[in-house]
Amino acid sequence: MNNEIIIDGPNVAHGHEAATDHHGHEHHEQHFIWKYIFSQDHKMICKQFLVTGIIWAIIGAMMSVFFRLQLGFPDSTFPIMEKFLGDWAKGGKLSAEFYYALVTMHGTILVFFVLTAGLSGTFANLLIPLQVGARDMASPFMNMLSYWFFFLASVLMMVSLFVETGPASGGWTTYPPLSALKEASMGSGIGMDLWLMSMAIFVVSALLGGLNYISTVLNMRTKGMTMTRLPLTCWALFFTAVLGVLSFPVLFSGLVLLIFDRNFGTSFYLSEIFIGGKALPHIGGSAILYQHLFWFLGHPEVYIIMLPGMGMASEVLATHSRKPIFGYFAMIISLVGITLLAFVVWAHHMFVTGMSPFLGSIFVLLTLLIAVPSAVKVFNWITTIWRGNLRLNPAMLFALGFVSLFISGGLTGIFLGNSALDIHLHDTYFVVAHFHIVMGVSAFFGMFAGIYHWFPKMFGRFMNNTLGYVHFFVTFAGAYLIFWPMHYEGIAGMPRRYYDYSAWESFRHFQSINGFISIVAMIVFFTQLLFVYNFFVSMYRGRKMTTLNPWGSTTLEWTTPINPGHGNWVGEIPEVHRWPYDYRDDGHGNDFIPQTTPLRPGEEAH
């Protein structure tokens, strides 16, 4: 691949108009469809992923508000729910079936559609070409397909919300036989078929995107951009793509086998079942097989969600501390470590399925090993801000919040990764608290940091800071207020995915705290709407960007014009001469040296 090739076709973009602010002034006006819909420009695809992700996030979060109302106030009715959910919440009381459907869809949407597609899709698309110095992705066309497959998957998932028997309701992990047998639950009907089809198409999207990200990082780097001069965001997004490309196909096979079991009478996952008043003919399958196939993706998926946040937090922390990231190589090595370990720990989700205790012990060892690279990353982040010159803007706050939440959620992982402790905590609220903090809220914080930081690059305007501060403090406090008490419930053994606890002698004393959690969840939800409002209004009304490099950053994306056109740079792509975190005196009163600055005489490369 040659970066110098001018991208041609219906999307012709010759760089020279890019410096102007208004689209209308461009000399080569593209048709609306090619520019905004079937665009092959990685920056437009990034925005498509982001906006779709935001829409899904609102839907997914709103679902959590509905089921939190049920959990917090099981004896009350909320007529407003009937307005949204119709007969599923007759008289304002959520039905048990739909409660499970909401829980399932909340998980599916947030994990796959928001924190995988919405997060990697957005930032891999935006940052990889801009930071490695490429005019676009290795294959812009495949990149476009990646979005449109995601769109198709989204449409199918959305349709499943409206079918008569409701969407899938077997949990986001959709374990068979529950998900395989229509008799087992209402959500295992047509809703489950749509879920499977949607997810299969989603895998296609993830693979198309991932292959592109990998080949772009490996092949499209500009002159001088060696792998060890890549910003950590690119490293993180690169490993994210590697994880996805190697593990999504396994999920795909798991889903295909489930489709077969559901529709074609095979018995991959089914054996010795009596349901709906009759014994089924299936014999010899294993329900546990699905769990292995699912978690072989499911666990790397956690890191697919986490790594982009880690990369962006590293970049944002270094930039706004005006300090190089501490231990650049250690950060890369720990990413490698996390990526490799991510593939060999999946069965820690299955300690209580009755698998061999010896096998379990191997997975305990490998799982707790992940604590080591994770600890290295945390200490390096903390050392990065030590003796820095911290600009506490919203992007920086979210990056700091990311570190705080990653510590909290990571530490509870030490409990759950140890099978002897997991055996009591498994499938309780302790797990809910753990993964929401570490891969839910924390990943969201990484994403928010990225959005606040790169919003000027995306739209040529800034988001409103005051709203950003409100957003941060409410969300940060809210996240802890919601999930901290859940640990206590989990320690008491309170199971997750219960519709109502009032019949349980062991758990019903948590009722008042459940109500409290629900109230905070609602406040946090509305604060997220405030962020969305800030996002969209700032696109058109935000303070305009007047300088190319508002944060004083070293990386290549800030050498492109404000509102760059397709092709990113006017004229030559800049050449890179130094590592990405040279935050020190450049001899002209600046506290940073961009990657494009040649080494000074006598200066050694990092």
Binding site: A279, H424, D427, G493
Partner: protein
């Protein structure tokens, strides 16, 4: 209409907040960008520190509130080991949590940007990296060692004298089977299941089945101080036998038999005194999502003294009585429609009752 009003209100509030935010941006320019930025930075740094202090206070309050409501009293020996290990892990992670969070927030405050400060160029230090690679590695090794010792303890083979009890999950209740006088559970076959008179699919050709006791009320009776071994199975989807007081949990998977064993150390009656709760009962919670009635899939463990247990057992009737069709032939594999509807009504009732 009310939805419309609420949405309008929310939008209005957002517009107002945004306008305030926007006004602060204009003020920024009017009053001098640098000055306002410095003030804001200072305010935020203080706010972060306040946040940390409030957070720690909140954690303290939360602990006070839930003291004694966290781990329920452990009712078996392995459960006590569990609590010990849990406390060690909590201590280790608690110290790390407090220190790292404190340092993080303190640094935010201490190194907030101002005119005089210049950042210290500190790109790497191998000694530090080695220190904080090895220390977590050693800590993890210790936790793994404690963990595996307990893990192999809990998952070890049950002692030969253990009472064997079968517990079978179905949507949405637990069925429990005792071996009866011959101390042996008879064979069963899912194709022989019949909700009317053979809920577990007992094979009546196997004489061991004739004295087996089957409980449909989800009560698992056992004797204090005597090991009990559970054979866990499911009739339909995956369930999970969750025993919070015994710190145990095991999936019930159709087609696979899993096991679990423990020695209950406190009777239900003593537990009522210990917890000062006259309604106390050991509960079996289904911990694997199994359908709409998942939350109501409740069983109980009743720990007796040997004398009470014997007394109770004497009142139980073998399932075969009235159900073994010595008269009728083996139950057909496919049930008449009336039976299946009967089964549905049953589970619906259970959901409602809860």
């Amino acid at each position: 209409m009310s939805v419309f009003i609420i949405i309008t209100l929310i939008v209005l509030v957002f517009i107002i907040i945004y306008q305030i935010g926007k006004a602060s941006e204009y003020a920024l320019i009017l009053r001098g960008e640098e000055k306002v930025r410095a003030q804001t930075n200072r305010a935020i740094a203080i706010l972060l520190l306040v946040m940390f202090v409030l957070g720690m206070w909140g954690i303290w309050e939360c602990n006070e509130m839930f003291k004694g409501q966290m781990l329920p009293v452990a009712a078996c020996k392995t459960g006590e080991n569990y609590d010990m290990m849990f406390n060690v892990t909590t201590l280790v992670t608690g110290i790390v949590f407090f220190l790292t969070q404190f340092i993080l927030f303190w640094f935010c405050f201490k190194f907030q940007s101002n005119d005089k400060r210049t950042a210290f160029y500190f790109p790497h230090n191998n000694k530090l990296e080695i220190i904080w690679t090895t220390i977590p590695a050693i800590a993890m090794a210790i936790l793994v060692a404690i963990g595996l010792r307990n893990w192999f303890d809990v998952t070890s083979v049950a002692p030969a004298e253990a009472t064997v009890v079968e517990i079978v999950g179905k949507q949405f209740n637990w069925i429990i089977r005792y071996p009866g006088k011959d101390n042996e559970l008879g064979k069963r076959d899912f194709r022989k299941i019949n909700d009317a008179n053979n809920i577990l699919g007992l094979d009546w050709n196997d004489p061991h089945n004739n004295d087996d006791v089957v409980l449909q009320n989800g009560e698992l009776h056992c004797v204090v101080g005597k090991p009990v071994k559970l054979l866990i199975n499911s009739r339909d989807v995956i369930h999970d036998v969750g025993l919070p007081h015994f710190r145990l949990k095991m999936d019930a998977v159709p087609g696979i038999t899993t096991t679990l064993w423990f020695i209950p150390s406190i009777t239900t009656d003593s537990m009522k005194i210990i917890t000062k709760n006259p309604n106390f009962v050991y509960e079996i919670a289904c911990d694997q999502l199994c359908g709409k009635g998942h939350y109501s899939m409740r069983g109980t463990v009743i720990v007796h003294t040997q004398a009470d247990y014997d007394k109770w057992m004497a009142t139980q009737q073998a399932y075969a009585i009235g159900n073994n069709p010595a008269a009728a032939p083996a139950a057909p594999a496919v049930q008449p429609a009336a039976d299946s509807s009967h089964a549905k009504v049953d589970s619906a009732k259970i959901v409602k009752a809860n």
